[in-house]
Amino acid sequence: MGNCKRIEENLIAYLDAKAGPAVRRQVEMHLAACPACRQRTTEFRQLWGLLDELPAPPPSLAFDAAVQARIAAEPRQRSWWTFLVPSPRLAFATTALAVLSVWLLSVGPSQSPDSSVAQQQSSEAEFGMIRDLPILEDYDLLANFDALSELPVQPAVAQPESQRP
């Protein structure tokens, strides 16, 4: 029984005629002495003949076309250097971004001279107002001089203020 177990692993190689000379001799010696293993070996050979009767259908005529269609549907593989070639979308987006940046840069500096001129003008007006402040103060003094309001008014002969001496 122990010997039967030992040749199990070698029996298939023996039947395939792929066992080495030493293994083949060992199996043959065992088979000569063991009727059970001899019968099993015979039945294995018959079994292999029986398995040849198992049918298998050939590939269909459309097989090759189906494989080619599935391969054609595959996305094309890209080489490493294709990363260097920008896609149209990326190129458009990059160009648009560059144009926008240039426009923003060109618009930005032209606004600052205008604003500085306006600032300068307002500063000059302010300065002028400060410079004319004594006159304005005199005007206020004259406009609000109470003594003048007490003078008798002659409406009939009243002359325009511009014609007064």
Partner: protein, 198 residues
């Protein structure tokens, strides 16, 4: 395959021509359905095509391609997408090419008569399909594809010693399962020998 890797499409067609029948046959015997076998075989070629750029000839091409096929078949069965076909009494006997139904012996059950009249191919197919998946793959690669032990061991990811034990167990199971057919065959051989002697 190295020519395919270099971009030679005609070499891929040669591979297709050489391996399509063995792959479809192997996958049919693995999954038990012709349409599923074709679908899986197409998937094998698709994967070969996808992997062409990274292909390194570390093993025989046939080992590589049958490893892909075996994995696809086992995954398909484990996913339950492709169940092994059950043998039906009404189905054609030879995978769809014949319309004749199975013949079943009527009257009193007589196992020998029934076995003689039942379709032998259906019984053999059922016995092979009943094997555990790894044993079934080992038998199909050994018996029908005639690959070497080191190739089959590489496909099934086991040692050669483990493969030989696996094959022995598988054939021993089949020998027991198909014993009536084996004995019938032996009896027929004996009868024909007797006739020759007379």
């Amino acid at each position: 395959m190295l020519d395919v890797k270099a971009g030679d499409d005609s070499s891929f067609e040669l591979l297709l021509h050489k391996y399509r029948a063995p792959l479809v046959n192997f996958l049919y015997r693995m999954v038990g359905d012709a349409a599923t076998a074709e679908d899986l075989a197409q998937e094998v070629f698709l994967r070969v095509y996808r992997a062409r750029d990274g292909y390194a000839p570390s093993a025989k091409f046939s080992t590589w391609v049958f490893r892909i096929a075996t994995n696809l078949a086992l995954n398909a069965q484990r996913d339950g997408r492709h169940r092994l076909r059950q043998v039906s009494l009404d189905q054609p006997l030879d995978g769809g090419t014949s319309d004749a139904p199975l013949d079943i012996a009527d009257g009193q059950p007589n196992i020998e008569h029934e076995l003689l009249t039942r379709d032998r191919a259906a019984l053999i197919r059922q016995a092979v399909e009943s094997l555990p998946e790894k044993q079934r793959a080992a038998v199909l690669l050994h018996k029908y594809q005639e690959l070497n032990y080191d190739q089959i061991a590489g496909i099934l990811n086991c040692s050669e010693s483990a493969l030989k034990s696996l094959l022995f167990r598988a054939y021993e199971t089949l020998r027991v399962e198909l014993a009536p057919l084996v004995k019938v065959g032996r009896a027929q051989q004996a009868r024909s020998k007797t006739r020759e002697v007379r």
